[in-house]
């Protein structure tokens, strides 16, 4: 089921990749006091699909993101993109960070053109033109010369999406990207993000702790356990695309939510009890 997207995506003009975790372990600290964060995770993120990872807070979702992005190296196991083990961070896997990671001393336009300029693969007027078009697309056409701090939270997230997309990644990794937005901007961002995804169909790994958000966005819903983190269950979310908010109130969506919630609730209770 999860491999379904791989073949049909090859003819898509937008390239996207399969990401695989193969027996990944990660712990922090010295061997004798080690705190296992990731405990033997093997999972495949199908090309061109949106896979949402949910898990109780503090379960190591961000560690998983860092491993897939290449910011950290697993103790055991490998992370592969299209079958090849990754070598550190690269432009094929763009990360949208929890809090904004727009560079504060660069204008929106400078932020968006940063990647291509650093690599020197696109330059000058044509790069600026492409960046401006992207910014117009994410609704920031009027704000290209503003600094990130002059933008609202929702605008910052959209600028960050544009900054990631200009690098033509084959995988997008989103680490609770809409956290900290108010409810209204959050749901607007979700819809906007879905439109974008449904249009370009890049492999998307989306981490969140919000179940409604997860079900609204996902093709596949990965439910993680408490620390040490394992995959508890993968639920295929079989809601039609393009999606809209009304689908969340259907019985089908509700069934998914019920299932996810009961799995998560048990895990959350465990970590809650540990805290006490």
């Amino acid at each position: 089921m999860m491999k379904a997207g791989t073949k049909s995506k090859q003819k898509n003009a937008f390239k996207s990749s399969v990401v695989e975790l193969d027996g990944v372990y990660k712990s922090y600290g010295e061997a004798w006091t080690s705190d296992d964060v990731i405990d033997d995770i093997s999972i495949e993120f199908p090309a061109g699909e949106l896979t949402v990872i949910v898990g109780p807070s503090g379960c190591g979702k961000s560690t998983l993101v860092n491993l897939m992005a290449g910011f950290e190296i697993p103790d055991k196991g490998t992370v592969k993109v299209d079958g090849k083990p990754i070598q550190g961070p690269a432009k094929d896997r763009m990360v949208v960070f929890q809090e904004t990671a727009l560079i504060p001393w660069q204008t929106t336009l400078q932020n968006v053109t940063f990647g291509p300029k650093m690599r020197g693969d696109k330059k000058g007027a044509s790069l600026d033109k492409e960046a401006k078009e992207l910014l117009v697309k994410v609704g920031l056409g009027e704000f290209i010369h503003k600094y990130p701090l002059q933008l609202s939270g929702g605008m910052q997230r959209r600028a960050e999406l544009a900054r990631a997309l200009i690098n033509e990644p084959t995988v997008m990794i989103m680490d609770e990207p809409f956290r900290g937005l108010d409810a209204m901007s959050r749901s607007l961002m979700q819809e906007f993000f879905l439109e974008l995804f449904e249009e370009n169909r890049k492999t998307n790994i989306f981490v969140t702790s919000e179940i409604d958000e997860a079900i609204f966005l996902a093709d596949n819903l990965v439910i993680l356990s408490n620390k040490p983190t394992k995959v508890q269950k993968v639920i295929k979310i079989d809601l039609p695309r393009p999606r809209n908010y009304k689908m969340l109130t259907t019985t089908k969506a509700f069934k998914y939510k019920k299932e996810a919630m009961s799995l998560l609730h048990d895990e959350a209770m465990k970590s809650f009890a540990v805290l006490k």
Binding site: P89, K91, R93, M94, E99, A101, W105, M118, R119, N167
Partner: protein, 273 residues
Amino acid sequence: MTTTVNPIAALFKQRTFKRGVIAILVFILIWHVGSQLDEWTGIDLLGIGLVPPPGDVFAAFLGVIPKPGYWMSWVSSFSRVLTGFFVAMLIGIPFGLLLAVNRYFRGIFFPPFEILRPIPPLAWVPASLIFWPTNEMSIAFVTFLGAFFTIVINVLGGARSIDISYLRAAQSMGASQLDLFWKIVLPGTLPSIFTGAAVGMGITWEVVLAAEMISGGGTQGGGGLGFFIWNSYMGGSLEQIVVGMISIGIAGYLCSSAIRKIGHVMMPWRRLF
């Protein structure tokens, strides 16, 4: 807006400027009342009666303004401050950045730095008077020390507190180590560099004055404002002491507003606060 606006009149239209002027006038008034209290009421409030009234100080100010010796004091103090300060910036910024970005460099140089740092600059005065061939050089050296440690510690702290996601984002977009330094670390440290510069500049003035007083600051007219105050003290001119003090206040203010202005121009993204 007309094209011929008197800039001074325009200044007075600004509320903050007006407030500032009024605050200074009120301060002078309180000073005046304090200095005259003994004469008016017979109460010597904590010996405050000894303070010369602002009018006398103003007269003394007018008295020294035409004297080239007074202005020479400005020039020599300023040149010492600026020399020490610029050398401290020139060495301190790269040194602090290296401490921040290179583990080995930090391992080697941070411990001795931390042992030298708590030594007050003035404790260096006797030693540097002996080490350096001229008085001038020893004053400049002590001034340099005053700014150096502050600048380094600010640069180090600033560079180390840059959000790691900026570095990670830049790295995954293909930035090289050199790019990371020039595009992320350096601009990210600028605010701390300016904080360090502002604090360092203040210390430089403190140090230069004290060093001038201790060393006698040379002889012919090159004594600086510290020596000017010391000389006035020796000559028993209370008014001139205060003139010297106010001159330092003005000099320090000019320096720190220059640093603020430059910071304002160099960090446009921070003008939003």
